[in-house]
């Protein structure tokens, strides 16, 4: 039983990271109907920036803040330079561009910082509390708390601020939003910036345990894609639940289904996803499009 709860905690903790990245994916999908495969690689690139600043002697916390701000700018630049020109192009064009960004950002990190892995400073203290034999580390708590803060921030922004309302309107009604004075492209740009910050945060949370290397986020983005699909692509709440579920399924599966082993455990979330989608094709929280004529 202790093992079971232990695995749930570990699963929730890694699930929180998938959820953070899935939130970024869903945010962009809702606004532009684009699945940005490159979100994780962009995150890795910005974590390298933080690492580089730290190496240069900038205080760690300050490095993180600067890199977070830079990732916002990076998201905006990526949108302006690569997505905006093809916004009305066909889906396959956009998919190709996202694949290009994926390869491009990984290559860029590799070119600047090389293929060696680097240790990344821990974000939270190394304290561990034990409850009835179940270990709860500060890192588990910190990761889950970060997800809570991100989710609460998003809800507050989208529900209660003028800019959040305008971003939602741009995503839902691209044609009508300009009629009330909303510059839709500016809102999409902000959305890409914000998503890049979420990607950065997911990558920062992952870096201390996976170590920093150019392909660090490849597995994470795959889980995040599965999380967004599981939760439903148009639902931020679904992204969070999907991420946590996938994290838990992964850790429980790897523990209890021994024959799968750690190499194949990447398949567990996808088995879960396949089963859910058989029952609910739109995902757990997704809405089926209803077209009224």
């Amino acid at each position: 039983m202790q093992l079971f709860f232990q695995q749930i905690i570990e699963g929730l903790s890694s699930g929180a990271i998938y959820a953070a990245l899935a939130l970024a994916l869903v945010m962009i999908y809702r606004a532009t109907r684009i699945v940005n495969f490159a979100q994780g690689e962009m995150g890795t690139f910005t974590v390298y920036l933080a690492w580089q600043l730290d190496q240069w002697g900038v205080p760690f916390a300050f490095s993180l803040i600067v890199a977070g701000a830079l990732s916002f700018v990076l998201g905006i630049l990526v949108f302006r330079l690569t997505i905006r020109p093809v916004l009305s192009a066909s889906e396959s064009t956009i998919v190709n561009i996202c694949i290009g960004l994926f390869i491009g950002f990984e290559a860029l990190s590799l070119w600047i910082w090389g293929a060696d892995t680097h240790p990344f400073p821990r974000l939270f203290s190394d304290r561990i509390w034990t409850f009835w034999g179940v270990r709860l580390s500060a890192s588990n708590v910190g990761t889950l708390a970060t997800l809570c803060v991100l989710a609460a921030g998003l809800i507050l922004m989208f529900r209660f601020t003028r800019i959040g309302l305008a971003m939602r309107a741009s995503a839902a009604e691209r044609e009508k939003s300009p009629l009330v004075g909303i510059e839709v492209e500016t809102m999409l740009m902000l959305g890409w910036g914000l998503a890049a910050v979420f990607g950065f945060i997911a990558a920062v949370l992952v870096a201390p345990s996976l170590f920093l290397s150019p392909p660090m986020m490849v597995a994470v983005v795959i889980y995040a894609l599965a999380a967004a699909t599981l939760g439903g692509w148009d639902s931020p709440a679904g992204a969070i639940v999907g991420g946590l579920l996938i994290g838990v399924a992964e850790s429980l599966g790897a523990t209890y289904l021994r024959f799968i082993g750690s190499e194949l455990k990447v398949g567990i979330p996808f088995a879960l996803m396949a089963v859910v989608l058989l029952v609910r094709p739109q995902g757990l929280f997704g809405r089926t499009a209803v077209i009224r004529v």
């Binding site: 003028r162 309302l165 305008a166 939602r168 309107a169 839902a172 009604e173 044609e175 009508k176 939003s177 300009p178 009629l179 009330v180 004075g181 909303i182 510059e183 839709v184």
Partner: protein
């Protein structure tokens, strides 16, 4: 004084040209109707004016050419366009629709006052303030669309087929409201309407569009009395 002066307006979709050099104007405080058969270019005219589609020619709002301005800028400058059908943000609550309408308004006090004012005028919207606009009836949605558009305190209100899909009694209410807005607040209105009878009853002047150009213009009274108009559009 003209609030809107349009000269040589040409627009279309892709390679299909719909408008071929339209000239017309809207006087301050007037209701001007654009009449014409399906496909004459009425909706395209409104879309070109609000910047939803690109256009050539000049579009002067208060004497200033806004043709180069983006749709969002034109909205901020005072062109309010209620598109055909659902002029509301259907996945947003009534309250959010009004907030979106006031997106360009800086003063929070003004937003609060206007919101209360519209809830006073449309108590049904007040009752449904937390409901999604898409769940309202057709008439309620059209009322919300108008309230939403006027939250921005525009210079000119452009309505595209407001009577579409509404029961006759509700259409009557709607036109009475437009007339009241015009009389009591001096709101200038450009009205596109299939139902020429109804439109000519509240309009001061009208333009009849045919094949993307102005076929006829005149005061509402003259057009009502014009025998060929009566045959073609008024059905008597």
């Amino acid at each position: 004084m003209n609030i809107l002066q349009v000269h040589g307006l040409a627009a279309g979709y892709g390679s299909i040209r719909v408008l071929h050099g339209l000239d017309f104007e809207v006087d301050e405080g007037a209701i001007v109707a654009l009449l014409g058969a399906n496909g004459a270019g009425k909706t395209t005219t409104l879309r070109a004016l609000s910047g939803t589609i690109a256009a050539r020619g000049t579009i002067e709002l208060d004497g200033r050419d806004v043709r180069q301005a983006s749709a969002a800028d034109r909205a901020r400058l005072g062109i309010a366009h209620i598109p055909q059908g659902r002029g509301t943000f259907v996945d947003f609550t009534v309250e959010e629709n009004l907030a979106l309408g006031a997106y360009a308004v800086k003063s929070r006090q003004q937003i609060r006052d206007d919101t209360q004012r519209w809830y006073g005028i449309f108590p049904r919207l007040a009752e449904r303030r937390t409901q999604l606009a898409g769940s309202l009836s057709g008439g309620e949605q059209q009322m919300l669309a108008i309230a939403r558009a006027l939250m921005a305190r525009p210079r000119i209100l452009m309505c595209d087929e407001p009577s579409l899909g509404l029961a006759p009694a509700i259409t009557q209410d709607l036109f009475a409201l437009l007339q009241r807005l015009n009389r009591e607040e001096g709101m200038s209105i450009l009205l596109v309407e299939q139902n020429a009878n109804l439109a000519l009853r509240i309009a001061s002047s009208a333009y009849v569009l045919e094949n993307g150009g102005v076929a006829l213009r005149g005061s509402a009274q003259d057009l009502r009395d014009n025998p060929s108009i009566r045959r073609a559009y008024l059905g008597r």
